[in-house]
Symmetry: C2
Subunit: 171 residues, 2 copies
């Protein structure tokens, strides 16, 4: 799950909503020594299916091999390698900073620039919610570095291809 500047590859995998499928898919990557930068999964509009989005950075050939292995799993319905240029790519981050009463306005100003939301304020802390592309999140995290980060949680990337060309229909 290292964040590197290597080119990121995004796999969008549609699977049957069954117990253990997530583990099995993640296991395919691990066995190949292929690091998963992030993994997100959630049930789709049709509750029979779950979409798993895996971000990884590494060799294209090996990724192609993994894609083929993933495709062979019985509960996998569709696998796509998303083209970053033609996709909407988003991540959500929750950031808890140590913020004194005197610092609050300054943090609020930075949050406003990024259209981030303040979702909790305590006497000494604030939780900020921000969504966007990874570069937007990184820029925000860079700007808030002058405050002490108490905790940070991020979802990892989820993504959809733009337009309608790439839509997979399932019955």
């Amino acid at each position: 799950m290292k964040q590197t500047d290597m080119e990121k590859r995004i796999l969008s995998i549609l699977v049957d909503n069954t117990s253990g499928v997530l583990t099995r898919i993640a296991g395919l990557f691990a066995r190949r020594g292929y690091n998963i930068d992030s993994i997100t999964a959630g049930v789709t509009a049709d509750p029979r299916f779950t979409r798993i989005t895996i971000v990884t950075s590494g060799d294209e050939l090996v990724l192609e091999q993994i894609k083929n292995q993933v495709q062979k799993q019985v509960d996998v319905r569709d696998v796509k390698i998303l083209d970053a240029e033609a996709s909407v790519i988003r991540e959500l981050v929750l950031l808890k900073l140590r913020v004194s009463e005197e610092q609050r306005d300054k943090v609020l100003a930075v949050a406003n620039i990024f259209r981030a939301k303040i979702v909790d304020v305590g006497p000494k802390s604030m939780i900020i919610e921000l969504t966007g592309s990874q570069s937007k999140l990184e820029a925000f995290l860079e700007l808030t570095k002058e405050y002490e980060t108490l905790e940070l949680a991020r979802t990892g990337i989820t993504a959809l291809s733009r337009g309608m060309e790439d839509v997979t229909y399932l019955d």
Copy 2:
């Protein structure tokens, strides 16, 4: 990864940022037959660590056992079962709908109510980005059911406890 009305339990796990740790953690759940509703993972402010957030619904006793097993893993630094009442819980969803030119304004109106963002518009489709609690997301998905869902991707839940009592310090 089924969405049920059972009480959701949220585990927040801080781990060393090493290859395979995600698979191993997920595997602990699978081996116990404990279904993972959602899993999200991302590197923290300190790049040596990754925070994994797992949502599961099931027996409290078994969850306690899994928590103990997770804690024993060499690369696990901290495990917390988050109290939903005292936590900020968020998810991000991307929803691609089939929307004709005539329907656009109506979809926009619904999006505005939920403060959702339109992130892509094609001749026959729209991608909407929405973040919030699970109940907010469900309400939105319910309201947009009159349009055909072409694709849906959601990150799964990420969460932080409110305030400062629960903060884990690592050196």
